[in-house]
């Protein structure tokens, strides 16, 4: 504001005439680029802890495993436990359910996976326990809890689980068969700690 516009431009011109013009402007470009790069880096460094702070905190991560006693779950019964705030479906499947799941041709599946692969972790002491199906009970469509844990629940057309929200149907291996869900019910990491106990997570 102190200088009228003409004097400002005069000053710039006089300055340019004195020095090497090309050299000077390239030096100025360098300064602009360097300052811009520093500002960019500064922004990222500032934003990182803020964004990272929204990820699960240490105590949330620490509560990420659950131990379950399976001894009370008889054949044909189901148990729902909480793991990481989500329901986990544990089912002691009947032989009929296992046979049904294993008879399905891979071509009929939207997310092809054998029943053997889905219960691969169900083993203890070198013995396979294919009756134990352990899955995260969260529909892979939009996160509802499917019905089918109780005998009185609807089980869908495939003797498995039925999601009431948007009608996804899962079979007796928890694989998606019909409806909008894209994937099979997720298998959490778990292992048998003895013949009747599992640790999820």
């Amino acid at each position: 504001m102190a200088h009228p516009p003409s004097s400002t431009s005069d000053q710039t011109c006089g300055h340019c005439q004195q020095g090497d013009e090309e050299n000077d402007s390239s030096r100025r470009d360098f300064l602009t680029l360097a300052a811009g790069a520093m500002a960019g880096v500064g922004t990222i460094v500032t934003a990182y802890p803020l964004i990272q702070s929204m990820n699960p905190a240490a105590d949330v991560l620490a509560m990420a495993t659950t131990e379950v006693d399976l001894s009370a779950v008889k054949e044909g019964q189901s148990l729902t436990v909480v793991w990481r705030g989500k329901p986990v479906f544990i089912r002691n499947r009947t032989q009929a359910e296992i046979d049904e799941a294993r008879a399905v041709p891979m071509n009929d599946l939207k997310d092809p996976q054998t029943d053997q692969a889905r219960v691969a972790n169900s083993k203890f002491g070198g013995k396979d326990l294919p009756e134990w199906l352990v899955m995260v009970g969260v529909c892979t469509h939009l996160g509802c809890v499917p019905l089918g844990q109780k005998p009185t629940d609807p089980h869908g057309e495939f003797d498995g689980w039925f999601c009431p929200c948007h009608g996804s149907q899962y079979d007796s291996s928890g694989r998606i068969r019909k409806g909008p869900a894209p994937k099979n019910l997720e298998i959490p990491p778990y292992q048998f700690t003895d013949a009747t106990h599992i640790k999820i997570g």
Binding site: I51, M54, N55, P56, A57, V60, A64, T80, V82, R84, G85, K86, P87, K110, P112, H141, L142, G143, C144, V145, P146, L147, C163, P164, C165, H166, G167, P180, A181, P182
Partner: protein, 421 residues
């Protein structure tokens, strides 16, 4: 603003302040003397009504925040305490809860009014875009506010909507975990939603200020959609439109009061008076009425698109639905460039007028579809209506000027007004 003309105020205090900070002159210029087309109808009340609702929501929200506890153990009970024990808490909460619906009603009317009279066209494109930004912010704010009472619909609405982001290829699940701050919708989610629900209304206020500032650069559109040509076409904003807005506000407040005092839970879902239970999904998850058309669009995409001759899914039905739903809102940003007809108002566009009403009917149909369980006839109707929604924006609007014979425009607003238009 410093260069603006100053008004000579008689009150010496006002005069003293105005000389140093010409707020009063600015208010006089923008809200008292501001020349406004003289042919507004009552649809032009709805901008002022939206501002009224924004202020109402902020004021009632601040008072609710004094009693609300954002914790999964206490949120539901703290809201019930507001309803039962806090002095006048029931009134403040019913105003706030139904205020969200009222806000969307007036904003939707405001948007449809803009569509009917071509208010988004040159020179008001940026004004329109700012409006769409406000709509998006409102949707985010309303969604997060609905989670706060921590009822069954709060919890499951939050679960379904945050899970939409898991449809994003590769990073989807990481984004969802980040949004939740855990492995499911839980206490960290509730806390951050509360923080953002408190913040966003002030962002809306800021964008609304820009929206109004842009309006005061271009001036208001009007039912004829023709430019103001002389001072004879305008009247000062005060007292003409302050009075008209106050009358409209009174009628609106009667309607609002009937809802608050006689039908306070009519627009809500009874399931939200059941405390949130992460183990049990309600049989039928529905969003609040103002999201139903978008919810219907989300659910309309029911097939996976494969890479031809393989089983590799290119776009799953989930991702497709999410793309369509966000697309439906984002499309509105491009409206000024999709509709190239030089005539603004539908009054002079006989074909557009018909298509406008079909579009309104489509939106209402989508709302109905969104409220139904996703099976049988509503699914088919929803798919047809969704397709038409996009056809309207992407095919009908761009093609229309080629076939439409518009009616002759009046020479000026004042001429048309004197003829009784």
């Amino acid at each position: 603003m410093a260069q603006g003309e100053r008004v000579n105020f008689k009150n010496p205090v006002i005069c003293w302040i105005d000389e140093r900070l010409p707020l009063f002159s600015m208010m006089h210029k923008e809200y008292a003397a501001f020349p406004t087309p003289k042919n507004f109808n009552y649809l032009w009340n709805f901008g002022a009504l939206s501002l009224f609702m924004l202020v109402t929501m902020i004021v009632t929200g601040v008072f609710l925040a004094m009693y609300y506890t954002p914790s999964t153990d206490h949120a539901f009970n703290s809201v019930e305490r507001i309803m039962r024990d806090v002095n006048w808490g029931w009134l403040i909460r019913y105003i706030h809860m139904n205020g969200a619906s009222m806000f969307f009603i007036v904003v939707y009317v405001h948007i449809f009014r803009g569509m009917y009279y071509g208010s988004y066209k040159y020179p008001r494109e940026l004004l329109w875009i700012l409006g769409v930004i406000i709509l998006l912010l409102m949707m985010a704010t309303a969604f997060m506010g609905y989670v706060l009472p921590w009822g069954q619909m709060s919890f499951w609405g939050a679960t379904v909507i945050t899970n939409l982001f898991s449809a994003i290829p590769l990073v989807g699940n990481k984004i969802v975990t980040w949004l939740w701050g855990g492995f499911s919708v839980d206490n960290p989610t509730l806390n951050r939603f509360y923080a953002l629900h408190y913040l966003l209304p002030f962002v809306i206020f800021g964008v609304s200020f820009l929206h109004v500032a842009a309006l005061h650069i271009s001036g208001s559109n009007n039912p004829l959609g023709i430019d103001v040509k002389s001072p004879k076409d305008t009247v000062p904003f005060h007292p003409y439109y302050t009075a008209k807005d106050c009358f409209g506000l009174t009628i609106f407040l009667i309607f609002f009061a009937v809802i608050i005092f006689f039908l306070p839970n009519y627009l809500g879902d009874p399931d939200n008076y059941i405390p949130a239970n992460p183990m049990v999904t309600p049989t039928h998850i529905v969003p609040e009425w103002y999201f139903l058309p978008f919810y219907a669009i989300l659910r309309s995409f029911t097939i996976d698109i494969h890479i031809p001759f393989t089983h590799v899914v290119l776009i799953s039905s989930k991702l497709g639905g999410v793309i369509l739903m966000f697309g439906a809102v984002l499309l509105m940003f491009f409206l000024p460039w999709l509709d190239r007809s030089p005539v603004r108002s539908a009054v002079f566009r006989p074909l557009y007028r018909k298509f406008f009403w079909i579009f309104v009917a489509t939106s209402i149909t989508l709302g109905w579809v969104g409220s139904r369980p996703p099976e049988g006839l509503p699914v088919i109707i929803g798919q047809i209506a969704t397709a038409y929604y996009f056809v309207h924006f992407l095919i009908i609007l761009p093609m229309l000027p080629k076939y439409e014979k518009t009616l002759p425009l009046p020479n000026s607003i004042s001429e048309a007004v004197l003829k009784g238009r």
